[in-house]
Amino acid sequence: MLAYALRRLLSTIPVMAIVALLVFSLLYLTPGDPAVVLAGEQASETDIARLRTAMALDKPYAERFLIWVGGAVRGDLGVSVFSNRPVIELIVQRLEPTVALTLGSLLIAIVLAVPLGTLAAWRSGGALDRIVMGFAVFGFSIPVFVLGYLLIILFSVHWDLLPVQGYRPIAYGVGPFLEHLALPALSLGIVNAALIARITRASMLDVLNQDYMRTARAKGLSTSRILIRHGLRNAAVPIVTIIGIGFAMLISGVVVTETVFNIPGLGRLTVDAILRRDYPVIQGVILVFSLTYVVVNLLVDLSYGLFDPRIRY
């Protein structure tokens, strides 16, 4: 297991290298002189020349890439063209709201979807099943921003229960933090909940038909114990897989949700950076998102062995 974990960890290195190469090339895929692109529209000739030497743009491509990667590995992602501050600093500043939003919505998705999907499978064909699957179709088809505005209108404007927009860091108190997080996490969580509920249902349906589930009933176990202890553990691998895949969708959802709810997170940083053509920031954010995704996938892979002892590494 440990050896496998190490091997899997090592195998992420080439993946990350390819990601890094693509992210780095981003700048050079856009037409024009990178120095001009970087410096922005109002830059003077001297500004551009200064930038060219500062960013080693006069060096060969491969060398520049290695310099950039070397910096990135040490946490140096360059300097924002717009604010002149280190990219890594901007990212760290914006990290908390995004992490809170991502984990919050993931938590909501799992807490909603796994029990509902399980119950739907248990009562498949019945009213509960239809309600849950109806909810899943709805949740999956409604765009995040539409759902976000709907929730704002209902909970903030109509019932005046929750703040309309914004973010409060957890350091200023858990109460306000949760109040502000609730609606964005919910609107982002629903899409994922829909996906996870469907997979949970399908996976559980398969498991419920297995002989060992009848054995469990023959022991006199209660329904809840049969479903949770015997059912869910056997159904877990596809569920965990879809949670991992859903994570990738969360990243794009974060950009939209942070815009709708005016949350100063990485998503907003990305949007702003794109609008300002702030390439070092764009590169940095994409790199962070990719790294997160690779790590989540790694964790998902490793978790299979915890759920199913037949999986040997």
Partner: protein, 334 residues
């Protein structure tokens, strides 16, 4: 004077399965009793309703599509069909336990076998984890599992078919059930392992005062294990008799056919021959059954009477019942 009720009494049980709009019976009007310490075998071709009957006793008929339409199932005089779910859960695995046919698939693949055996003891006897684990170990010794300590923490996929069936048996016996239902416990196993598992079941039966309902389609197993036999045909009991009486002189042509299909020696050239299906013809599907005896289309003795009216299950000899209009004309098996 009130006699003690039998351990198990099944009365006029009918179970049917729905497919689309049609509901067809899998078991029809089945009645039998079983006493403590007794082994009752149910034999019959595959599809004759043996498993459905044993699942009905556990109230484990998958619903939908299945349903118990009529009848009573009395355990020590108490009707199981009248119990609510939680009372039935207290009986399952505790008073009544079941050994299933498929050891390869009837164990949970993601739980250690020790946990699976300990689970019902913890549930029904309220033992703590350590006690239940010790009990599981004792059970493994009882089913003669090689190196039991080591097995406790293994998963089903690490064990052979024979070992898995021992686990299934250990699980069933964990709470000392008064009624043990074994649905073809050896069918899925290799011949040599079959013999070992049968040996084990015999030992256990002699230690236990439980009643055993043994489902099998192997008359060799019946001869070795059972006290009495029920012969099922197309969901109905066609003959019910003590083993020796049945073997000596069957009173139903179907049983005669089964006995004729049974090899004289249970092993021939090392392998057991499966020849139950050598009676010509097939079991009529529920839709195409006439008003008469379901076996009539395949029966050498059938007359018009047989095609017109279902023969009742009647006593033909002391303790020997058969449902046939022509019982007295049957020849003794050659």
């Amino acid at each position: 004077m009130t006699a003690n009720p039998p351990l198990l009494a099944v009365e006029q049980l009918t179970v049917s399965f729905r497919s689309g709009r049609r509901e067809s019976p899998a078991v029809e009007d089945v009645s039998f009793t079983l006493d403590a310490g007794e082994t009752l075998a149910i034999v019959g071709e595959s599809g004759s309703g043996k498993s459905v009957t044993s699942l009905a006793v556990m109230r484990l008929i998958p619903d939908p599509p299945g349903r118990i339409n009529a009848g009573r199932i009395l355990l020590n005089g108490k009707d199981l069909l009248a119990l609510n779910d939680s009372d039935m859960q207290r009986i399952r695995g505790n008073d009544i336990a079941m050994i299933f046919q498929e050891p390869m698939t009837s164990l949970n693949p993601v739980m250690t076998v020790g946990t699976q055996i300990a689970e019902s003891v913890r549930l029904h006897q309220g033992r703590n984890t350590a006690e239940a684990r010790q009990h599981a170990l004792d059970m493994l010794r009882r089913v003669q599992m090689p190196s039991p300590e080591q097995r406790l923490d293994q998963y089903p996929h690490e064990l052979s078919g024979g070992m898995r069936q021992r686990i299934v048996i250990a699980m069933a016996l964990a709470c000392n059930p008064m009624l043990l239902i074994a649905d073809e416990p050896t069918t899925a196993l290799d011949v040599t392992v079959q013999a070992q598992v049968l040996d084990l079941m015999r030992t256990i039966r002699s230690e236990l005062d439980a009643g055993v309902l043994l489902v099998t389609h192997d008359l060799g197993v019946v001869a070795e294990m059972a006290d009495r036999v029920l012969v099922f045909y197309a969901g109905r009991v066609v003959e019910s008799a003590p083993v020796r009486s049945l073997m000596r002189r069957p009173r139903h042509p179907y049983t005669l056919g089964l006995l004729g299909a049974m090899p004289r020696l249970s092993t021939r050239g090392g392998t057991r021959h499966e020849r139950l299906l050598e009676i010509p013809g097939n079991v009529p599907p529920p839709g195409s059954r006439g008003p008469g005896c379901y076996f009539a289309p395949r029966c050498a003795y059938a007359t018009q009477e047989c095609r017109d009216a279902q023969p009742p299950l009647e006593e033909k000899h002391a303790g020997h019942l058969a449902a046939c209009w022509h019982s007295d004309e049957l020849e003794e098996p050659a």
